[in-house]
Symmetry: none
Subunit: 226 residues, 2 copies
């Protein structure tokens, strides 16, 4: 079961302990603070996976804490409020929050929302990813195209997985050489190119006009779904 490090900020002690207890029961590990200042002070050290912030806080309010977290980090944030006023929801989400939950909240619901957000945040690391016809199973190390299994050699597979790990990002040859091969190789070689060619020959319907692995001249290669 997925267990998250949760940063909880809530000034009302009874609500705080109740939530902490409920979330802990769901299997999460919770660190809680009564004020935004404390939370911000410790956020770097604790490296939580998600923050749950009460909006009404003494001192800096939750929305402002959210804004400051956003400046620091990609950390997912759920805002918690007693008010259900629409305007607040808009302001909160515009501040960069990922969700907005109105108190009192059923623990199972909060837990489901936490998981939904974390699932999205980590979908980049889940076992199986689908890009149109192409399915890459990182657990089973299998690649299928239009339900037909494709055989990739170990090096080809490592290369493809590395590209897929950063969808949409351009990865340069030096980086790929370092990560996919051992760094013992000369920086200047057509090795990466040759391997990309081989992968393309296997997964691209028309290797001459690649749909998945794109060449970015002068920089490297980019995997992006069609």
């Amino acid at each position: 079961m997925r267990v998250a490090g949760i940063l909880l900020v809530e000034d009302d002690p009874s609500v705080r302990t109740a939530l902490e207890l409920a979330l802990t029961r769901q299997g999460h590990s919770v660190t809680s603070y009564a004020t935004g200042e404390e939370a911000l002070d410790h956020i770097r050290a604790r490296r939580p996976e998600i923050a749950i912030l009460d909006v009404m806080l003494p001192g800096i309010d939750g929305v402002e804490v959210c804004r400051r977290i956003r400046k620091l980090d990609q950390l997912p944030v759920i805002l918690l409020t007693a008010r259900g006023d629409d305007l607040d929801v808009v302001v909160g989400l515009e501040a960069g929050a990922d969700d907005y939950v109105v108190k009192p909240v059923e623990p199972r619901v909060l837990d489901a929302r936490i998981r939904a957000i974390l699932r999205r945040a980590e979908s980049a690391t889940s076992d199986r990813i689908t890009f149109g016809d192409l399915v890459i199973d990182r657990g089973a190390l299998k690649v299928t195209l239009a339900s037909k299994e494709i055989h990739l050699t170990p090096t080809e597979l490592r290369l493809l997985l590395e590209l897929v790990r950063h969808p949409g990002q351009v990865l340069n040859r030096r980086y790929l050489l370092r990560v996919v091969w051992d760094h013992t190789h000369v920086a200047d070689s057509r090795l990466v190119d040759a391997c990309v060619q081989r992968v393309r020959a296997k997964i691209e319907p028309r290797p001459a006009e690649p749909v998945f692995i794109h060449t970015v001249r002068g920089f490297g290669y980019r995997f992006s779904p069609p």
Copy 2:
């Protein structure tokens, strides 16, 4: 302004048209269907950026549509329901939905939630800066002007990135030669000018009156948003 291609599935015609109108007013482009089957049939062709699904649908219900979408794709999903029962929320979110909204929903709220989800979905994979119509994605090394992709050559791109790294600052030719080119070049040449020229030709609507890259006579060039 961020504009999304939204796939809307809602069987009640009056709710559907109302939502479609409201979302269109917010600047989104909406395609709507009355049933999940239709939506699933067209999802590949339309390539929406986000799906909004009513839970109560004739035939396949919204939660099931959501599950099937998840199998296909990384597409973000918002479930829409008239029921506020906690159990439904949990089931929906477990099916892989990114958010769960209870009808009737204030259009601004729905819009804010859409934007929050899209922001997360895209911030996970890219690192982009926007200057009006001009979007520069430093991770994907892609430049778009009014949503149309612009092809820049390696040197042009390096030059633009360098200018953009210091918005509002004047960078002189010697500096640009050193950073963008290797320092092996003679300081006196039309090299930088020519390259700026080429970039302008591609990204400036009217290259003769540049909006992005300004010439500062006697000093160099300055990138500043319009």
